[in-house]
């Protein structure tokens, strides 16, 4: 199984229409990858599906870059 970072990057690439190679661990969705606010909502939806979890709105707001998404998933996976 791919590791979580790779899976997150893959989803970010799909959702934001960017090249996976251009996504770094500290890439900000809005500032570096050109996401708008609706893109970030959709990205969270996609993460929820990929990792079969529910991310509450107040937590979702804090996920603004790849690292934060990876950290969230690692902290909540399998709970």
């Amino acid at each position: 199984m791919e590791n979580i970072e790779q899976r997150v990057k893959k989803i970010v690439a799909e959702q934001l229409g960017v090249n996976e190679a251009d996504i770094k661990i500290d890439s900000s969705f809005v500032e570096d990858l050109g996401a708008d606010s609706l893109d970030t909502v959709e990205l969270v939806m996609a993460l929820e599906e990929e990792f079969e979890c529910e991310i509450p709105d107040e937590e979702a707001e804090k996920i603004t870059n790849v690292q934060q998404a990876v950290d969230y998933v690692k902290a909540h996976l399998g709970k």
Partner: protein
């Protein structure tokens, strides 16, 4: 048929305008889920759809019950797929001069007519965003634009729908989801049947087409907005009122 296989959710579909909308969308090939507040209403919806040979069913749903709305949408998605067309039609009146209006009259109208629009629209958006296609159509009213003595609550809720519609249209346009209102004028339904005869005559005198509208004429406007023919129409209110009010 322009809506072949698409799931359409119509609230308040047991009679009047809602029923006409459900039937019209069904004739375009949509799988219609019509809601009513009671089980008997839901059964009536299932009955008229079946009788007309249309796909879909009735569902008992209180649009003011958030948990029930979520559960209903889950159920619909599992059985038929995600909702592609939402018609916010459920509505009530509690007419009263403001001087005499109770908070209950205000709240009941706001909850059923406006809060339900927030709740249902939010609930269907996820599926529409994923599909990159969606139609949210809310049934407003001419009085939301023109005002009407004795209907401060109803007119406020209907005008609220129009503002909601414009804002949501801006939010989700990039995902190919259109959001519009249809604002009926004076339509021949149970809701207008209770009006006093002299009041009806006064209203009729203000209608250039000199007659009440039929529920099917509202349904036609909704079906147009739901179709691909209206793909470039969003954030709008389509007034269907015989010329009673001109924007």
């Amino acid at each position: 048929m322009s809506l072949q296989g698409k799931v359409a959710l119509v609230t308040g579909a047991s009679r009047g305008i809602g029923r006409a909308i459900a039937e019209s969308l069904g004739r375009e090939g949509a799988i219609v889920i019509g809601t009513a507040t009671s089980d008997s209403g839901a059964a009536a919806i299932a009955g008229y759809l079946q009788e007309a040979g249309l796909q879909g069913t009735g569902l008992a749903l209180d649009v003011n019950d958030a948990a029930a709305v979520d559960a209903a949408l889950d159920q619909i998605e599992k059985a038929h797929g995600p909702v592609a067309v939402l018609v916010n039609n459920a509505g009530i009146t509690r007419d009263q001069l403001l001087m005499r209006m109770k908070e209950d009259d205000w709240d009941a109208v706001m909850d059923t007519n406006l809060r339900s629009v927030y709740r249902l629209s939010k609930a269907v958006l996820r599926g529409m965003m994923k599909a990159r296609w969606g139609r949210i159509i809310s049934i407003a009213s001419v009085v939301g634009a023109s005002g009407s003595a004795g209907q401060t609550n109803y007119a406020a809720a209907k005008a609220g729908m129009m503002g909601f519609t414009k804002s949501l249209a801006r939010e989700v346009g990039s995902r190919n989801i259109t959001v519009n209102c249809v604002a009926p004028g004076f339509i021949d339904t149970d809701m207008t049947a209770v009006l006093a005869e002299d009041y009806k005559q006064k209203l009729l005198a203000q209608i250039p087409l000199e007659r009440l509208g039929r529920p099917e004429e509202i349904a036609d406007a909704v079906t147009f907005l739901a179709s691909d023919k209206a793909a470039y129409v969003t954030g709008n209110t389509l007034h269907v009122n015989g010329g009673m009010f001109m924007n």
